[in-house]
Structures are given as structure tokens and as C-alpha cells.
Symmetry: C2
Subunit: 329 residues, 2 copies
């Protein structure tokens, strides 16, 4: 079995890994709340891609633009579907010619807060991520030069690229496609979940079960990896999803320690971004939580505890971005 030793640490030690001096016996839940952070209004904006209205608007057009796929009908929004939590809710992505990819589609929601993109973290930024699916044979299957050439045919795109990148003599190019899409994606955040309201001081925002679930989530050790504003450490951990033969991060680094390791996914909106794991092999959230406890923490949740943790996870569903489809040329 490809397990790292800490996968079998006891819950107490797992908690210790995060907090050097935990004060578990406090009267209120400040200890628990401090593991997390309300979702900021915006993720970090890179210095070399300032976020302008023009870029966001253009990025939204490109995100919904199927004519930069070789079939002409697949866009970013096909798999990152606004109607489906900005993912596809099927086990593995289906793209060009109906081919099935090997991995589950991650949601775009709050992705700007992650420090590693894709399940294997092969790109650090949204800009780095954006062009991958356009070119991938099993996704949009479009040569990037052809995609750029297609966009250049439209006067509307020529105007929008010029407005978004006023300093560029030839603004329609692959880098700018990536910058615009990334700028749009940084607007796709889900603030004001019950958990955010709770973290900001509204104690009534969570039910008793949800608060109990939050405590369990921390005490058992889930928060060792699922912490911070999007409940992900953006780091890599070995996990063995049912039926998966995917070597994960190892494919990127060639480092044996990375074999079968995957980037910790965000848990924000986890209740509406099923199915779970790198290969989408588990549809039920109770089952997913049980397996994570068992495999990552050596902890066997009882049915009652699972109900509470799942109740807590439902409190991570925030307000979906209100998006109307753009009018494409």
C-alpha cells in the first residue's frame, strides 16, 4: 500500500501537527474558529495581471466561448457548468468526441484561493491553468494558435482584447486569453456561507449539529489539511480513491514521495460539487467523509458523527455568483 506514515497518526497527534499548543478545553469555540477564515471578497491578484473590468468581461466571454474548441461546441463552461456548481457532477470529465478524461473536474468556485491548480498541482496559477483544457486532446482539443486565429476573426473580440490589453500592439494572443479567463475566474467566489457568517460572529448561523461537526472536523484532524479560507492547504497528500490507478503528483515531479499524492481540494461548496476524489468514484458525502477519516487519519467515524460532519460541510455552501451568459459575437 502506498501510504505515508502520518496517514495512520492518531487524531490527537494529527491535531498537534497543526497547533503546537492546542487549548482544547476552552469554554467557547474560539479555538475551532481560529483554524479557519471567512472567505475574503477576492483572492490574491497577481502583480502581473491586474484585475480590470475589461479583462473580467472579456474573460467571461472566453469562458463561455465554444468556438475555441475543435468541435465548436465545448467551452470552459461545459465542464465548469454554472448550473452545476461550476463543475459537471459526473465522475470524470467528458470532452472532445465524448472522450472521458481520467480525473474529476474541480470546481472553479474560489479556485483563485488555491496555490496549486489541477489535481496534481502542475500549474500554480489560474493563468497557468487556463490554457490547458483548451489544448488538451480529451477536452477542447484546440491548437492554441488556431484558437487565437479564430478569435481574431471577430471584430467584437478585437475590440474587447484591445480594451483589456491597451498596451499590447497585438493583444489577441494565448497569454492574454489566459490572463482574461483568470481575471474572470477570480470573481467566481462564494461568500456568506453559514460558516462565514458564524466565523464573523453570528453564532446562530450554524445549527448545533453543524457546530458539533466543526468540532469533530478539527478534533479528528481533518483541519490538518483542510484549513484556511477555502479549507485546503494547497498541498499534496497520498490518497487511494476506489478504483484509482492515477499516480497523481508523481507524474509532475517524478518524486517517489509524490506517487498517488493529490492536491487537497477545497471543501467550500463540497455539498454541491459531488462526486468526490480524483476519479469521482464516490458520490455520497457521508461515504467520502468516512473514507477520508479512515484512510487519512485512521479514525472511524460513527454514523452520528458522520451526520454532524456532513451537516458542517453543508454549511460551507456559499452564495453562488450571479452570472448571466455573455452575448457572444
Amino acid at each position: 500500500m502506498h501510504k505515508r506514515p502520518w496517514n495512520r497518526l492518531t487524531p490527537a497527534i494529527a491535531a498537534l501537527m497543526v497547533l503546537s499548543a492546542p487549548a482544547l478545553a476552552q469554554d467557547d469555540d474560539a479555538f475551532y474558529r481560529d483554524m479557519f477564515e471567512p472567505l475574503p471578497a477576492l483572492p490574491p491578484i497577481p502583480a502581473d495581471n491586474s484585475m480590470t473590468r475589461e479583462k473580467i468581461e472579456l474573460g467571461k466571454m472566453l469562458f463561455f466561448e465554444p468556438r475555441i474548441s475543435s468541435s465548436g461546441v465545448i467551452s470552459c463552461a461545459t465542464c465548469h457548468n454554472p448550473a452545476l456548481g461550476w463543475t459537471d457532477r459526473i465522475p470524470r470529465a467528458v470532452g472532445h468526441l465524448g472522450q472521458e478524461g481520467s480525473r474529476n473536474t474541480p470546481t472553479v468556485l474560489n479556485a483563485g484561493f488555491l496555490e496549486a491548480q489541477f489535481w496534481d498541482g502542475r500549474e500554480a496559477t489560474l493563468e497557468g491553468q487556463a490554457l490547458g483544457p483548451i489544448a488538451a486532446d480529451v477536452e477542447m482539443a484546440m491548437d492554441l494558435d488556431q484558437a487565437v486565429a479564430r478569435l481574431q476573426e471577430f471584430e467584437t473580440y478585437r475590440e474587447h482584447f484591445a480594451a483589456a490589453f491597451p498596451d499590447d500592439a497585438e493583444p489577441i494572443n494565448a497569454d492574454n486569453v489566459a490572463q482574461a479567463i483568470a481575471s474572470f475566474e477570480r470573481t467566481l467566489n462564494t461568500p456568506n456561507s453559514p460558516f462565514d457568517r458564524y466565523l464573523r460572529g453570528d453564532e446562530g448561523a450554524l445549527t448545533e449539529d453543524q457546530i458539533a461537526g466543526m468540532r469533530l472536523f478539527v478534533d479528528v484532524g481533518c483541519a490538518s489539511c483542510h484549513n484556511g479560507p477555502v479549507l485546503s492547504d494547497s498541498n499534496y497528500h497520498v490518497f487511494d480513491a476506489p478504483g484509482s490507478e492515477d499516480e497523481g503528483r508523481f507524474v509532475v515531479t517524478g518524486d517517489e514521495a509524490d506517487r498517488f499524492a493529490f492536491r487537497t481540494p477545497t471543501l467550500r461548496n463540497v455539498a454541491v460539487t459531488y462526486p468526490y476524489f480524483n476519479n469521482g468514484s464516490v458520490e455520497d458525502l457521508h461515504q467520502a467523509v468516512y473514507m477520508m477519516g479512515d484512510q487519512m487519519l485512521g479514525y472511524e467515524f460513527t454514523d452520528g458523527e458522520l451526520d454532524q460532519v456532513v451537516a458542517f460541510l453543508h454549511a460551507l455552501t456559499g452564495e453562488m455568483p450571479a452570472i448571466t451568459p455573455p452575448a457572444l459575437p
Copy 2:
């Protein structure tokens, strides 16, 4: 050549076919305006499918639901894409496994006003049309029983179908899927185009070129078939699109007179629903108008006339429905 004799009628006679006693020499444009009708707020509602808020909401969900396709990623909205004038703006529809169909995707916009659906009119109503693409091998490729079974798995759909069809003991069935989708589609209308405002008395709503184009459109005979609120007679006419071998209405009726005949498409929003003709073989609106004049009316538009008619056709672009994607279960 498969031409009907009236395809070569002179413009004057073509005009006579529509109006028995045309008064061509009026001072104002009342004669021309009377050929058309401002778009009503809603199309006719069938007696056996009353339009309720619950049906519309459910129909919107189903319209955007890709999990009733066998790949799990193709929905009605894939080809009838809100970002692309509720069509796909490619020559021929691309569906399951990337297969290309033989016909251009008609827009859903204002489709409730047509008395015949599909290019060959094989269904009269939106209810009759709605299930075809779900089951078609080259579109969503989903067995209808399987589609219904898939919907039954979701508590949210069970609730929505029960609310939309309160008198049905088993409300989730294919007929009700069709009724709900049709109800939603009847909301997808595009009122208040410049031409509508002109027809209602706002003489400044059209430019001089657009008014000249409207007159030409009537005088040359286009309005013989393109008349009424959506500028379609919902009838069948033989047309020979470049490269088409499609037998059209003949496939439905077996009637020799219908060979190569197609239902007159609506011209509402024609400027944003390119490419044109049954096989999407022509992308340019000037070229499409020229070919229609030449082939259907034996009239060769000059370049200046084409500009005017095309300007008029641009005045048929109305207000797009403001749709936010539904939140699917």
C-alpha cells in the same frame, strides 16, 4: 433542378400573392407595416399545457440539464446556447461523441410562434419537438426511459415535477418533461426590436436605410413567405442550399412536391443566428439574402439594395431573455 414554378415569379406577382389589392402608392409606409405585426408578449399557449410558474421553472432546469444525455455533458443549452442567440453558430449541430448532424440548429428564440418545428416540420408543437433531441443518436443520445429514471433519482426533481404537475400520480414522465421544456421555451421571446418599436408607431426607431430595406423586402416579394409576427409563414418551400442533398420535408411526407422543401425560418434575430440555411452553408447575411432573392424570387439584388435589406434585418434583433443559469441538484 427541383424548383417550384413560383420560385421564378416576378417580384410584382410575388407581391400580389400576398395582398389581393395592394395600394403601392400610399404616402406613408402603412402598406408595408401591415405585412407584419409587433411581436406579442407571448406565443399561443396550448389548451392542454397551461403555462405556470412551476412548469417554467422546471422546464428551465431541464433545458440546462446535461445529465439526461448519455454522455452527461450535453443539454438542450449546448446547441441552443444562450450565449449564442440560443443556437450554436456553427454550420451543423455537433452532439453525442462529437458527431455532426445534417442540419443547422434553429434558434429557440420565438419558436413558440412557429406552427411547425424542425427544418422539416415533422412536429407541430414545442411539446412534440422537445423530446426529439434528447433521444436522437447524434444529439443527446439518451433513451427517454433512462432520462426519466435519471431524473427520478433526484429529490429536487421529484419536488419540482410534483409542483408543476400536481394532478399526476407519477409526475416524472417523458410527456411532462416535454410540457415543462415547452413552457420554458415559450418565455424565450425577443420583444422591442427596433422594428417592433417602428411598427408600434415610433418612426425614428428605424434608420432610413432600414426603412428602404423594409420596402424592398416587401416589394421584391420576401414577405410572401416571411410575414407575420416572426416573419415566417411556417410553410414549406423548395430551396437549394449550397452543398445540400437533404430532401427536407419529403422525408416526412413522401410527397414529391415536398422534396427539398424546408420550413420558412423566422427572421427575428437573423443577424445573430448565423450561419444560414438548412445546412448552415452560408455565414454572410448579404450572401444569404442575395441567394434567396435570386433563387426564390428570381430577383438579383444590387449591392446597395443588399445593404438596405441587411440593415432592415438587423432591426429584427430584439431584447434577449435575461436568463441566469438554474441551480441544478
